[in-house]
Symmetry: C2
């Protein structure tokens, strides 16, 4: 798949998701030399999961043309919860039954390679810092907007993991202390409960039920009412859809500003499926951020979309093992 110059050493990055495992070999310049996807089959349990991870790894290395011996190590990005220092999954909500699973050491043993475990959103943030939209920044925050809101913080060039592997869980910052919406985690008022793709759709369903005002969204079957369909309706001039998108931008700005007033980064990035909404959505988030923060930060902090797209997960995971092997963070 790859062509042109390859810069050793090579890293194997693996992005473990509830549905699919994506993997690829990445060279030292951050170029993906292969990209494969296999089903996780999470319901078969963690032992089967190690088989699936090994299959993804084998196919990624095979496709890259790099000999296994030249793979310097393995980075594994996973959804939480986890204990990063021990490399153990705790109670990962997207991987039911994988509780208390020492995934890092099990995979290292299977692949006979040094392996690091990282939260998937943290890994994506490190990937953007390495070769994506954050390559010029030493201090950034990435929000990934999908079913939930993931977040990763890069502080002074390194992942801010926190003392209990909960650094950068900014989707669960409380943005509404009184009368907050219910979050998928069971608590109230979290950013994710307002501004994830899922929450946008929920707010749309509620708004449609509130009155009979005309809206393009009423023509959609429930399965068609997605965040991108709402965005499309907004672009067609639909008033309700426009309001919903605008509110989403405002809630994201609220979350971004609270992080800015806490870790004060150079750069705020947004990634994930919802960035299909394109430049106008980003511009509205940015404009809201400027109106909600201090003048100095309004001028200085950049707000951009992430760049790595579907490969962010495994490139980020590769960045994690690269940092560990090379002492780069």
């Amino acid at each position: 798949m790859a062509s042109g110059e390859r810069r050793p050493p090579y890293y194997l990055g693996i992005d473990l998701g509830g549905t699919n495992i994506k993997a690829g070999v990445v060279d030292d310049a951050g170029k993906a030399l292969s990209s494969v996807s296999v089903e996780t089959l999470a319901e078969h349990g963690p032992d089967s999961g190690i088989d699936r991870l090994a299959e993804a790894a084998g196919r990624a290395v095979g496709e890259s043309g790099i000999p296994w011996a030249d793979v310097a190590g393995v980075g594994l990005g996973s959804p939480g919860t986890m204990d990063l220092s021990r490399g153990v999954l705790l109670e990962p909500s997207n991987l039911p039954g994988w509780d208390q699973f020492p995934i890092r050491d099990r995979l290292a043993e299977r692949l006979q390679k040094r392996t690091v475990l990282e939260n998937d959103a943290n890994a994506a943030a490190l990937g953007e810092h390495w070769v994506g939209a954050g390559r010029d920044s030493n201090s950034l925050v990435l929000f990934t907007l999908g079913t939930g809101i993931g977040c990763g913080i890069i502080h002074e060039g390194r992942v801010l993991q926190g003392r209990h592997s909960h650094g950068g869980e900014c989707g669960h910052m409380i943005i509404q202390a009184d009368d907050g919406r219910l979050c998928s985690c069971g608590r109230r008022g979290h950013l994710e409960a307002y501004a994830s793709a899922t929450s946008l759709v929920k707010r749309a369903v509620e708004a449609l039920a509130e009155d009979d005002a005309p809206s393009l969204l009423r023509d959609l079957a429930p399965a068609e009412l997605t965040s991108l369909a709402i965005d499309e309706a907004a672009r067609s001039g639909d008033a309700l859809a426009s309001r919903l998108m605008s509110e989403t931008a405002r809630y994201l700005a609220v979350g971004a500003v609270s992080v800015m007033h806490t870790v004060d980064p150079d750069l705020i990035l947004f990634g994930g499926g919802m960035i299909g909404a394109g430049r106008p959505f980003l511009d509205e988030i940015h404009s809201r951020i400027r109106s909600l923060t201090f003048a100095i930060l309004a001028r200085a902090v950049r707000v951009e979309y992430a760049e790595l797209g579907g490969e962010a997960g495994f490139i980020g995971a590769a960045a994690c093992i690269r940092a560990a092997v090379g002492g780069r963070g």
Copy 2:
């Protein structure tokens, strides 16, 4: 003032406030060898301010019995806004007319000592980390509860200054995105607008105006209606005062939890005048935090009061120059 063993080197810590300048010589074990206070007379402007700072410095050194030559450097804590890397006050709201003032270099020149500038709340947090309630923790967040809400974050043993000197401005995290209360900074929904001593009093005044329900607070003259008077009424069993204190604890917990879900520290500290409310108030904050955060963090994160009290400012400032001189952070 000091007795017993003194451990060199010695540091001069200065805490610049809108009303008073506090200063003291601190030894390498964090012991204050002197403690003085002079009026800031901020309205006389920054040139006069340098005279006042020099007077405080001279008296602190004189009282300590340490020769000037043995003072290793000067730490200056100041209210914001500021540019820490350049050592310049920008538009400090408590020091009107001191805008764009290169206070660090001016003071260094005057005292002929290496001088570092730090945000006062950041300095207090570093002081607690050095010799206060955070001495066993490498990663803590301090909220100081007074007229406003100051905040300092210690991450991996160092002050998290941020890229634009706005790290740890957590009093201005947005905890209420919709219909937020007005903050002293002019923006809405900030933690400070709900849970500072000033905001507690404002909420009390509003609550008293809402209805005619009996309350001990009605017996107080406006000048007597302070946060500590509200706490006292709550301890006497007054229903309204109890509700106000309880709500304040909940808002503080909301702010603490959002920081916990961002930088994930070991320890949350509360300092400032409001901690006169004592152990029951801290216990309620802690209980609210446990109910609002993830199970792992509810178990693992300690919640305590700060310990350094009125000397926190200059001891923290001394900690900053100690860190700079000794490479300790």
